[in-house]
Assembly symmetry: C2
Homo-oligomer: 127 residues x 2
């Protein structure tokens, strides 16, 4: 393993000022996350979504390269999205897709590198 | 809404030096995440786990208060865990539970506050 190379890349995406009805629309949310995965070049393995009462939703799409999750607060027009990947994935395409799909008025995101605390120069075991 | 109060709290947990067999054991991983949710006082809604070939696993537990996810790299004895909650949840209990359940040799974690970019003083719509 290359010294101090991350194992996973994790985007923390905040979507603000989204139309409330989109944030309560489970089919739209599920298709948006799956299509965002496709836009990044990722492969969807499985997904699960849940509608909360009286409003709000949570969902996850497991991809071959890790996951996407979303939690929505329609009453604040806000959605918290995570995109976690490993491998050669164009994550910014996923961000751009979701900003449009949920019609976010504004957004911000940051990239976290995961697994950086491995012992320097640690090699994987022979599998 | 209180000024600059977060909507969600998100722990980024890195578990290192875990026994490889635990990181490939889907029933163990699933029960560990569900029990960690219980230890925090959270309510499990649904879960989904996936075993990758030749090794490694991904899983998510959706809780009433948001989610837990895990991705494992047994070949690096590493697991990336996320605990995302809203409401009054004792997240550190979940961290402690998972450190023990996966027998991590060492770990680190940090807390992110989600949804801080809401317009100051924004009130939820009347639902």
């Amino acid at each position: 393993m290359e010294d101090k190379k991350e194992l996973g890349r994790h985007i923390i995406l905040e979507l603000y000022d989204c139309p409330e009805h989109r944030l309560n629309d489970i089919p739209l949310l599920e298709s948006s996350l799956c299509r965002a995965a496709g836009a990044m070049g990722a492969t969807v393995v499985t997904s699960r979504f849940h509608q909360f009462a009286p409003h709000g939703a949570s969902g996850v799409v497991i991809i071959q390269e890790s996951h996407l999750t979303i939690h929505t607060w329609p009453e604040y027009r806000y959605a918290a999205v995570d995109i976690f990947t490993c491998g050669e994935i164009d994550m910014e395409r996923g961000v751009q897709y979701l900003e449009k799909a949920l019609a976010a008025g504004h957004s911000d995101w940051r990239l976290l590198k995961r697994g950086l605390g491995l012992v320097r120069g640690q090699q994987p075991t022979n599998k």
